[in-house]
Symmetry: C2
Subunit: 984 residues, 2 copies
């Protein structure tokens, strides 16, 4: 009964059908071809390309990019295969290098549920506090952990790295002295990278950083504003600073102490010495070394200096219902308000890593941390005991916590280190006759035995770590033992089992809106897809577990990636060389301006210190220029939002002799491709200046034009915007800078592992280190690398086009209800646009903030509020949003416009209405009492999709002023945090 097979069809196999079909581009660039066509048509263009033609000035259109091997774009599987190959070229040795970087166990529950969890890593900086209480609490935990351990009264919520944190503190010291004292003394037993960063940073601040032996510190000049000492020192020594601090204070000198959190579980904390500021890194609290970063650094000080504190600070306040709530405190210090008068240029910091470190402390608790510290110290002591028994080697007789200095016969230090490397172990060579050996959470008894074998030159040793334990003793001096308690709040004492921590993480997560919920169309922030594939290699051990100062022959995989990434970023930007060191956009600005400064200096143009900055620039621009010692000349914009070219010409010519640079953002911060940008570059060059381009809006350029092509000399890229590094709730980020050939020799290097631009020019004259690690936050570079490699040149160019298309589609959909500020000559915008809400103040007493908060009730995060124009919202959809999502967001705004109209027309109360009372929490809308003139349903379920899936804000509108008046920046035993209720 079995039938014969039927004849085959004649359809032949097309070659293209044999190619991988599941390309990454169609996963990243969200709208389908169909949707793209519809949107273009809706905007009045026949095709997307016609819209692009009408939008991007002809003069700046570039040739097609060529990304070499990656030009076609790899599939996700191919990319992961390629990353595996790179990973295999990295060799993970046991690190005893220390110097501020220690191996650590990332608790798997934190690894998977924070670091690998898009609900945590795709969050934005918590500007919208009502939908960010989860990470705000976690950051408050971080601040509390820092203040408890350091013994200081207040901490910020992270800085970029320990080295820059020290430099920030240095700046604070001169500020405290109101600029009158300019000398800053640095003890020579600080980490070399910290010293180098301070030395690089000082001249821009008009300061003089002097490195000296602690014993030779000389305050007689009366010009010393502060000192930096390290505790424990870079060679491991633990010094009692009691008298030192008294003496410094007696001379009116502020003391900055760089320190180590794990050591502080066992050592008398800096606050108890009377230190004025404390800096350090929280890396070893469960954040992988990652070949240098990202990690959360901190700066802690007393409330006296709170207004000078750099970076974000989380504080307790109350909400509209009078309930405790958290939000960022004292934002008035920051550059988005204070510009060149800001306390610092820090914007994106290290929120995600601060969360990880805080959770590490929550998970281990004070006893757990102390046990880890005791083991680390115990192993170090045992090692010191044993190594001193070997012939020719001797451990320090002094005090130490985790790092043991060993003296060896003259000339032997490098030989021992190289013998160690043959056995997969990295040591630090201090000088020709000494090494240091650092111990950490991951060191085992077996590792100590291995070290004995290494120091014995492979000869057999007649003791073991175990056998020595009884004779080894604590090497912490009695008077320096920690006696004060720390981490006493219930949060650090309740979640020590995996279930408890897991649920705590999820309770916090549930309070926070992120990209897993809906689009976050923050203008200038480019909140696009952070694809899983891009994120995966980040937590592979071959990338995560390398020490930044490991010999480069052990890091060939990273090196190859840096070279490829440098090449591709050069192709994308039109530059000749890239530095991968800066850890954020603002750090890139600083680095770029310092390169310009170094260039002028090299030509004898030391006097060139004027920086022209349009008034529409992001606050980090003037703040960064100020840090470089530049004089800022502001230039305004015309009615269309473009830089006023004539005013610029005048300013340039007036400052011809001293012109250092122009800082300009392109497309403009108003979301427009200014037609005159090439002209602007010419004017600056003609007057002896260099053009610094702020690359925040690079997502509107890639593949269409480039900073280099337009005429910029240097530009930073926010890899955490255009190139897919997730924002992490306020960091990490990466801000590499690209430069033209003439600037390449000046790119930053590093005192421990020399580096420079990719590609590296033949002759170099580097400006010094501007970050603690040679390649900044190397661990997150694979994200951007993967993005570029998978998109290929066409995919990237399409991304830019679709980003522009999406923005224009939204502008078109909204234009009947909202005034669109600033469009180009053809009526189109770039990849973002501004809606103007100022008129509603008069017509309905409604302000931008009211609209922003009401959007939460619709399940959305507000666009960028009141920047660059106060009273507006700036909307940037990115290419990763589908037409359906764009429509939903537009529908929300249109619906809100109706709600405003109801007020305008007297159908709704002008004080108690859905906007003024937004956001609406569940507790409010289902309270037994309801006296509002609008209904509960309208409050909470204003749109159909919200009914299907509601995201609940967990707090009413926060009161910023109250919190700044009653500044509280740590957990209070009594402060009624939700969690206390859960724990109870």
């Amino acid at each position: 009964t079995r039938p014969m097979p039927m004849p085959f069809g004649l359809r032949s196999i097309s070659l293209s059908a044999l190619q991988p079909s599941d390309t990454f581009q169609r996963r990243h660039n969200s709208p389908t071809l169909d949707e793209q066509a519809k949107m273009a048509e809706f905007c009045g263009f026949e095709t997307v390309d016609k819209m692009i033609d009408a939008t991007v000035p002809k003069a700046i259109l570039r040739e097609k990019m060529n990304l070499g091997f990656f030009d076609q774009g790899l599939t996700e599987a191919q990319l992961l295969g390629h990353m595996k190959d790179l990973a295999a070229k990295n060799k993970v040795f046991k690190s005893h290098i220390g110097m501020g970087y220690y191996d650590t166990y990332v608790p798997p529950v934190i690894l998977r549920n924070i670091m690998e969890n898009p609900a945590w890593y795709t969050q934005y900086t918590p500007y919208q506090a009502e939908i960010a209480q989860g990470r705000l609490e976690s950051l408050l935990n971080f601040q509390t952990m820092i203040t408890d351990l350091t013994g200081m009264p207040m901490s910020n919520a992270s800085l970029l790295d320990e080295g820059t944190a020290a430099a920030e503190a240095m700046g604070m010291c001169t500020s405290i002295a109101r600029g009158k004292k300019k000398t800053f003394l640095i003890a020579d037993n600080c980490h070399p990278q910290t010293i180098d960063i301070c030395i690089t940073r000082a001249p821009g601040l008009g300061m003089n950083a002097v490195v000296a032996n602690l014993k030779q510190f000389d305050y007689s000049s009366k010009d010393v504003c502060g000192v930096l000492v390290q505790y424990p020192a870079t060679d491991g020594e633990v010094i009692d600073y009691s008298d030192f601090v008294k003496n410094a204070h007696a001379h009116g000198v502020k003391v900055v102490m760089a320190t180590d959190l794990l050591a502080l579980t066992s050592l008398k904390p800096p606050g108890e010495f009377g230190a004025d500021m404390t800096v350090g890194s929280a890396q070893r609290f469960g954040v992988p070394m990652g070949y240098g970063g990202p990690h959360a650094a901190f700066l802690a000080t007393s409330q006296e200096y709170k207004r000078l504190m750099p970076g974000r600070i989380i504080g307790v306040t109350i909400d509209s219902g009078g309930k405790p709530a958290l939000r960022m405190a004292m934002q008035t210090r920051e550059q988005h308000i204070r510009r060149d008068k800001a306390t610092s240029n820090i914007c994106t910091a290290q929120a995600l890593l601060a969360n990880m470190a805080a959770m590490y402390a929550v998970y281990h608790g004070p006893e757990g941390l102390k046990m880890i510290a005791d083991r680390v110290h115990g192993l170090a002591s045992v090692f010191a005991t044993g190594v001193s028994k070997l012939s020719g080697t001797k451990a320090t007789a002094g005090a130490f916590f985790d790092t043991v200095k060993v003296s060896v016969p003259e000339g032997q230090a490098s030989k021992i280190a190289s013998f160690a490397r043959e056995h997969g172990v990295n040591l630090r060579v201090l000088d020709s006759s000494s090494l240091t050996v650092a111990f950490d959470e991951t060191t085992s008894i077996a590792d100590v035995d291995k070290l004995f074998a290494i120091f014995a030159g492979g000869k057999s040793v007649d003791f073991t770590a175990e056998s020595l334990a009884p004779e080894a003793a604590s090497r912490v001096p009695k008077g320096l033992e920690r006696t004060s308690p720390y981490l006493t709040h219930p949060i650090f004492n309740a979640y020590h089992s995996e279930h408890e921590l897991l649920r705590y993480l999820y309770r916090l997560q549930a309070k926070d809106l992120s990209l897993v919920h809906s689009m976050i169309p923050l203008g200038s922030c480019t909140m696009k897809l952070n694809a899983t594939t891009e994120m995966m290699p980040v937590t592979w051990p071959e990338f995560a577990n390398l020490h930044p100062f490991a010999p480069t022959e052990q890091t060939e995989g990273f090196q190859e990636m840096f070279r490829n990434l440098g090449d591709m970023l050069c192709e994308i930007t039109g530059f000749d060389s890239m530095s991968l060191q800066p850890n954020a956009g603002a750090a890139g600005e600083y680095a770029g301006l310092m390169v310009i400064r170094a260039y002028h200096d090299s030509r004898g143009d030391r006097h060139r210190n004027v920086c022209i900055i349009p008034t529409s620039a992001h606050g980090t621009n003037p703040a960064s220029a100020a840090m470089c010692g530049m004089k800022i000349v502001a230039v305004g914009t015309d009615a269309k939002g473009n830089v006023d070219i004539e005013a610029l010409r005048k300013a340039a010519e007036a400052n011809k002799e001293n012109l250092a640079a122009l800082m300009i953002t392109y497309p403009s911060t108003h979301g427009v491709y200014e037609e005159g940008v090439d002209e602007i570059c010419r004017i600056i060059h003609q007057n002896g200046g260099q053009v610094y381009m702020d690359g925040a809006n690079m997502n509107a350029q890639v593949g269409l034009t480039s900073p280099g092509f337009i005429g910029a000399d240097v530009c930073h890229l926010n890899l955490h915007k255009t190139f897919c590094i997730p924002h992490g709730g306020g960091g990490p980020g990466m801000g590499p800078i690209g430069v033209k050939k003439h600037l390449a020799p000046f790119l930053p290097s590093h005192p421990v592992i020399p580096t420079g631009g990719y590609p590296l020019p033949e002759k170099v004259q580097p400006l010094g280190a501007i970050a603690a690690a040679p390649w900044g936050s190397a661990l997150i570079l694979p994200i951007s690398y993967a993005y570029i490699a998978m998109m290929g040149s066409e995919g990237l160019t399409d991304a830019s086009k679709i980003a522009i298309l999406n923005a224009n589609y939204m502008a078109k959909r909204l234009e009947n209800d909202y005034k669109i500020l600033f469009r180009g000559d053809n009526g189109t915008c770039a990849h973002e646009f501004i809606i103007d809400l100022r008129s509603f103040k008069d017509t309905a007493h409604i302000e931008a903030e009211d609209v922003a908060k009401r959007l939460m009730d619709y399940g959305y995060h507000a666009p960028t509020m009141s920047w660059p124009v106060s009273g507006t919202l700036m909307i940037e959809p990115t290419e990763s949003e589908s037409m359906a999502e764009l429509d939903r967001f537009c529908n929300a705004l249109i619906s809100i416009r109706e709600e405003i109209r109801a007020i305008e027309e007297g159908r709704a109360d002008d004080k108690v209405n859905v906007l003024k009372c937004a956001p609406h929490t569940a507790a409010v809308v289902l309270a037994d009492e309801w006296t509002r003139p609008y209904s509960r349903e309208v409050a909470a379920f204003p749109a159909s999709w919200v009914k299907a899936s509601k995201f609940w804000p967990t707090t009413g509108r926060v009161d910023n002023v109250y919190g700044d008046r009653h500044l509280i920046c740590t957990l209070q035993q009594e402060n009624g945090v939700d969690e206390v209720a859960v724990a109870a």
Copy 2:
């Protein structure tokens, strides 16, 4: 000014301080020592150990376990290191083996956000539909995907594997014939494992399974109830079954078609041939091969046979507000209701994998799947074209989809396969002169070129896959091309970008309560911590990407783990050998009973077919016994809930001649350590029977006693209970069985890769395969392995003790408000206990279901409801819950008791009250209209912790009856699923 270091203290370093401090035990066993002491005291015991002494009968207390290398328990980092070592011993070759297992790309967004996400993998089977609408929707998508692709009207929501699905269909065929026809014909070109499973299964069902060439099928006996054919066949051939099906039907024979989902995107579906049932595996839809599983199999049929359908079926119904809602349909078919009359013994299935496969289809959509299929087919066709040009090799001239049969010179097949292996490629040898080569989603053009080189014996080939493409043609016969549409519902056509899919996953996730929210104290289900560390190796490629039939020398890492795991499970259970093949508890029961049957048979005791089962047994016990052809004799329990020993003795003696086995659960399903268990075992043995122990309650035994020690001959372990495999929303699971020496020879083997018990006895007489893969769901064994290895013998024993402690603490806390059913002689319970709610029916019209649903308003999943005693809740806290969490749960129940009291005392209405109206959705409590006699706040925020963090049920109480009356088990274009609102 630098002070001298102070003298060191004299504290020496203790050796224990040098040991790793962060042990896994304290992360898994949640209560601290302090809390444990408090709880024991509260229960009236001086110490935990005293409570244990009072609870576990002396007679069965075992000696301390010895887990060898793992006895002390590894730390999490040590375990991960060990797993890396094992992983390195597995070699991932390119697989062209086929046979139902294909390499596939797991879309990273699904990998990370479902497979690696505790919010998905820790869910329980959706018995509480109101807090499970997310996965219910996903499983409805799965069913729709299956019905669309197969062309059948209805599908279940997964079965264990393709082979057992075929066996289930075989059983259905005889049931349809009301047991009157007993012969089942199996085409010899089905997969060998499918054939073997059916042959093993048939005798138990009283059936006769006959394997024959399709052309020789003979229906003349009139005893044929059904046939099994495969499409495409195991050798790749695609047969037109049109006439075959007509002919079978003409003879009153039902046709079961095993099929392949990817092929069905291109081939006329079984439904269009008129097949009565279709079975297959969804593995290649984005679920890793995993050395055999877990994967979701399916069975699809017409509504005519719906009551005979094995496994869970999701159906559409309405909720208390009349809105559409989902829940499991027709549960009355299942063993928990129908016991030995159930349609199948299937309980735990493969929900998580079904979700992954469904999401793969959602992500790719119909066009995406078709592109993949076209590429796979194109590469196969090109390969067939090329291989036929080589001298001596010839591809089949027939039709195929993805698997090409190649004939080679006689005797050469194995040589070619071994040459291929030298090049990292696995082929299937069909016989001495033929091989098959299967292609899949991951095959590339380069792979085809490599195959050419292999088949050319390494000689150079003068064509390439690319060069051949133009001359290759489709090998799907014209008449068999698929013309009907599939996956037309919007859900399969809206979420093709990563952002859209990510948000869809999160919208669904937000509807489902899981262990990331709160404890799920399901009695008999042991919902303990599924630690991240245990889960991590599961998705490592060295474990995930192995074909189950890969030569064992490529899988040494797995083999080593099997040996170690077998040894440790033997030590834990007191058995002599373990089979790792059964894929769930019920599959273990079946396998264990079949082992007993084979043992009796081997002794000439074929007549021994009586199985004694206490009435308190889980429904799977009688269902499994029925599948083995056993006659069930029920024995009741006494007033204390213990097995009535005298009745048992009588039953055993009465059936002395034919006694096959007793099935008993220990501790009893009533949560009590029956004192007479050793006596019971003796009685059974004395009467010639074997003791089968149901190991579901093993969590109360580990380290304290053991099934082997107590006297059982065989026992299954639910690794997804006691041994930490997460429940996955209804699977995966693993149900290995342990046996005493005399039974070891009969443990299941496998027709492709012979296997047996660990350790393997010298002489074997295996009973055949009972699962499709030799080691069942091998990919999840690392979870249990990691758990045991990290806990060590003391940690495991502590876990049992704390599980018992936690249960007793809760019972004590609740006893004033609820009647506790069944405690042991000393007034203690085992690791679970039952609270009796029956009296509330009279006093307040309240039933167990009302309490269960009201718990949702408190943020909790109900305990096991109405099993083993109707009108009760069975509470099993496990050792992974902290005292704080136990207290919160008790507080919820006590508060509910107050709510009941209010009804009893007339303070609350007895119809409209917080219990009867539970659960309360957000939509209900904030509706503008509120007419209930209780307040909105009381409805939604009945406890302080709920105010701090609310989990919202998304649907009102579901109407089970309505849905079963109007059975709808697929997505309906119009059916108003929430998602359509979001998409719109």
